[in-house]
Every structure is written in C-alpha cells, then in structure tokens.
C-alpha cells in the first residue's frame, strides 16, 4: 500500500499541482490579454477603452466571461453535433497542452523533453483542425469559406516557420527548449538572426489568424468566418483558445529569439529579478507587438497573403538556412 502512495498517488498529485500552477495563471493572463487588447487599441485610437466595470475597468474580462457563460448554446439545425461541439474543445485543449513543455524559468517546466521544440511545432500544427472542423460542422457557407482559407493559410506559413526553427536549431544543436535558451547566454538569437526573427513574428501572426492576416474571420467579407454559428460557451472556448495561442506563440518567440528567462545582461541590476519575471516581461513585449500590429495595419488580400508565404518567405528562409549552415561550418562554430 505504501508502494501505491509513494509510487503512484503522490507523483500524480504533484503533476496535477504543477498543471494547475501553469493553467490558472495562464487563464488569468488570457482574461487580462483581452482587457489589454481593448485598452491598447483604445489608446492608439485616442479612446478610453473599457473603464466602467471595476476600477479602470479591470473587472471587464470577468463580466464578459460571465455573460458568455449564462447565454444559450445554440446548435444549428443542420450541424454535425459531435464535430460541432468537439471543435472549440479541441482548439482550447491544444492551446493548453503545449504549455507542458514551456520552460518559464531555469528548471520551471512540467516536462523537459528531448524534442520539446518538435512537440510545440506538432501541437501548433494541429490548431488548424479546430478551425476546419468548426467550419465544416456548422453546415453553413461563411464558416466553410473561413475554414478553407484558414487551412490554406496555416499550412502555408507553417513551412516557413519550420525553416526558421531549423535555423535556430542549427545554432543550438539540441531540440530541448532549455538548451535553446541556455545557448543564448552570450547573445540572443534575435541579433544574429534578425531577419529570421522578423519572419517568425510575421508567420506567427498568420498562424494565430491575427490581424493583418485574420482572413479566416474577416468580418467585412465572411461575417465572422469559421465561428459565425457559435454562441455562448462554445464561442468563448474559441476565443480563449485564440488568445491562449497568442500567448503561447509569444512564449515560443521569446524562447527562440529573446533568450527565454535570461536577463538582457548578466550584471547586477538586471540579475536581481528572477527568471520568470524576465520571461513574463518579454512575452508581454511580444504580445504588445501583436496588439500594435492589429491597430496599425489593414487586412491583407488573400492572394497577397499566399504570395507572401510561398514566394517571399519560403525562398528567403530556405536560402538563410543554407547560409547559416555554411557560415557555421566555415568558421567551425557548429555546436558540439
């Protein structure tokens, strides 16, 4: 019996506690990201933003959440019920699952697996299923068009994202996320690989269906794209999933290019702050860029989006992979 407690029950309890320690702050972050988005865009457009519910409107996200919770979930008559309900759950679950391998500080990670970056790439490539399933199961024209657009868009930009990740991996020599961060102790990869950093950020915008690449939900042409038919909690799950994905992608950008939890310089005033604070600050910086882009740029046209992905990013990243490999081999800088 003691074997059962020390062998199974106790480790299980620890894992559950770790999962809660990641998921609860993440959900709070998602809630306040929606608030931050409205405030930042309001500031850019010289408005006030939400300021009624609670001090400075700080309780607004919870008011929105409660409202969605108490509304009626409508199932369209011709919808495929199981797929229709599975789609938002899948989107939300995938956005949460990926956090299992994200190191938020030195050693602060649930599973520090050997192939961490591949795991993240695999999970983020699954995000498209939530959208496609939602679009198809709704049995309606606009969601279907949105889903098709999204499928093509996400698959296209994944290719160039893959090449960017390969470039970083060439400089690291390991697929483990902790190693990727520790390889940036001398210099963050955003500096030597600046063009890759920019391409990665733009691809991430396309991958998360954010402005200026939010064609799958383009409201002026597709009403709301793939989630037209969704209401109440099923809509809220899509919404939470999208914002959790934004935070996840910002975290990946931070780990790959901005040195993860490392301080900018390893000298006294900077290394007083613990690693997790630096990590959070960097993620917040990338997230601010998401919101900034949304408030600044108009939506891309669909053919221009495809051209950017296939004819600009793909050849450029391909050349850069070869170039990086060549430089590393020539100067004998390959990681051992």
């Amino acid at each position: 019996m003691t074997d059962f407690w020390s062998g199974y029950a106790w480790p299980f309890a620890i894992i559950v506690a770790q999962i809660m320690a990641i998921v609860v702050p993440l959900l709070v972050a998602v809630a306040y990201l929606t608030y931050a988005e409205r405030k930042v865009i309001a500031a850019i457009q010289l408005r006030k933003g939400p300021n009624v519910v609670g001090p400075f409107g700080l309780l607004q996200p919870f008011a929105d959440g409660l409202k969605l919770l108490f509304k009626e979930t409508i199932l369209p008559a011709g919808a495929n019920r199981i797929v229709f309900l599975a789609a938002p759950i899948l989107t939300f679950a995938l956005a949460m699952v990926a956090w299992a391998v994200i190191p938020v500080a030195e050693g602060w990670v649930i599973a520090d697996i050997n192939v961490g970056i591949l795991f993240l790439f695999a999970i983020s490539s699954l995000g498209v299923y939530g959208v496609i399933m939602a679009g198809w199961a709704s049995n309606s024209k606009y969601p279907f068009l949105g889903a098709l657009r999204s499928a093509a868009q996400m698959v296209s930009y994944e290719v160039s994202m893959g090449f960017v990740i390969i470039t970083v991996l060439l400089c690291v020599g390991s697929l483990r996320l902790t190693d990727i961060v520790l390889a940036q102790q001398t210099v963050w990869f955003a500096i030597p690989l600046l063009p890759m950093f920019v391409i990665f950020f733009v691809s991430v915008l396309a991958e998360t269906n954010r402005a200026p690449f939010d064609l799958p939900e383009g409201e002026s042409e597709l009403v709301a794209g793939y989630f037209v038919e969704y209401s109440a909690m099923s809509f809220a799950l899509f919404f939470l999933g999208e914002y959790a994905n934004m935070i996840l992608m910002s975290a990946i950008t931070t780990i790959l290019f901005l040195g993860g939890w490392l301080p900018p310089l390893d000298i006294v005033p900077f290394n007083w702050l613990p690693g997790i604070v630096w990590f959070a600050l960097k993620v917040a910086l990338v997230l601010f860029c998401f919101l900034w882009v949304r408030a600044t740029f108009p939506r891309y046209r669909y053919d221009q989006l495809m051209r950017l992905g296939w004819k600009v990013f793909l050849p450029f990243t391909l050349v850069w992979v070869v170039l990086t490999a060549g430089v590393l081999v020539t100067f004998d800088w390959l990681p051992q």
Binding site: N114, L118, A122, S125, I132, L148
Partner: protein
C-alpha cells in the same frame, strides 16, 4: 510498469478501433477524423517505445500536413459513398491480395525476430544503445551519415514526382490579369500623376 501496460493497451485499443471506424464510417469526413485519431495514438505508441522523434514527426507530417490536405479535399468534393460502395465486390480480390502480402511480410519480419534473434544485429547499421545517444541523433547518423546518397536520391525522386504533378495540372488561361508586384513597386510618381493648370472656364 502497470501504468505503462495500461497506457499501451489504451493507445493500441484506440488505434485498432479508430482504424476500423476509418473504413466503416458512412461519412467520409468522419473517416478522415478517425484516421487522425489513429495517427495520434500511433504516435503515443512510438512515445511508449522511447522513439520520441518519430512520434513527433508522425504528428507534424501526417496529422499536421497530410491529413489536413486529405480533409480539405474530402470536404470540397461531395463524395458519394453509395456510388463508391458499388465497386466494393469488384475490387475485393485485389484489396485482399494486398492485405495478404502485407500480412505475410509482417509475419516474416516478426518471425525472423523471434526465431533468429541475431538477425537485427547483422543488418547494415546496428541499433545504438539508447542510453548513450538520443534517438534524434541516432536517426541523424543513419540518414545523414551512413545512407546520405540513398537519402538524397529519395529526395530527388520526390522532387521529380512533385514537378510532374505540377506540370500535369498547369494550364495557361487567357484573359487572366495578374498582379505584378515588382511593376507596381517600380512605378514612379511621374507615370501615375499628371498635374495640369486648368484655366477657369476653359476645361482640360
């Protein structure tokens, strides 16, 4: 070990069950979704064997790319299942033959494993000790060091197949106006705008 065995039977049972559903589901989209579930659980089985690289690649390539295109096509085409079922008996012998050949091959591989345990060590590239190298590195050595020419040749064949597919579907249509980005960017102000002084009452 109990948990590992339980997880193995869970994954294995779901793989078999969803594989059966792939061929028996009435709705083709459901078939593809079950296929994805089968891929996913197969990746889980790989993980249990300690082949984490293969597991992740299975998810990235098959679930993340191939199955998306599958789903795309199946959703776009209105596949008539009843019509497909009509040819069932006609194609049954060929299908059964293919299945039989695969079964015999599997039995031969597994049989060699059981009856002559030295067969695997005698192959071209021995399996390295998993405690010494990660399986990503071991695979890299096999593909990029040991069999680099064969690997490159396989890549070239795939490239040629891709070019062939593109050539077959390429068609030039008349009257399509394409956007030429370089032309647009190279445009000067003088080509687009002309300023004229218009005398009042005179018109242009």
């Amino acid at each position: 070990m109990v948990i590992q065995a339980l997880v193995f039977y869970l994954f294995a049972a779901v793989v078999v069950a969803s594989a059966v559903m792939v061929i028996s589901a009435r709705n083709p989209v459901h078939s593809v979704l079950f296929l994805i579930l089968a891929f996913f659980n197969a990746a889980g089985l790989f993980l249990l064997m300690g082949a984490e690289f293969l597991a992740m690649i299975l998810v990235v390539v098959y679930v993340g790319a191939v199955a998306v295109l599958f789903l795309f096509v199946v959703m776009m085409l209105d596949v008539n299942v009843a019509q497909l079922r009509q040819g069932f008996l006609q194609y049954l012998p060929i299908g059964a033959l293919v299945g039989l050949i695969l079964l015999v091959e599997l039995v031969m591989v597994l049989g060699a494993w059981v009856l002559a345990p030295g067969t695997v060590e005698g192959s071209g590239m021995p399996i390295p000790d998993p405690s010494q190298v990660t399986n990503t590195e071991a695979l890299g050595r096999v593909i990029y060091d040991h069999y680099i020419y064969l690997f490159q040749a396989a890549g070239l064949i795939l490239l040629i197949a891709m070019i062939g597919a593109i050539v077959l579907t390429l068609r030039q249509r008349e009257g399509v106006r394409r956007q030429s980005i370089s032309k647009q960017v190279a445009r000067q102000r003088a080509e687009g705008v002309e300023l004229k002084d218009v005398p009042s009452g005179g018109g242009v």
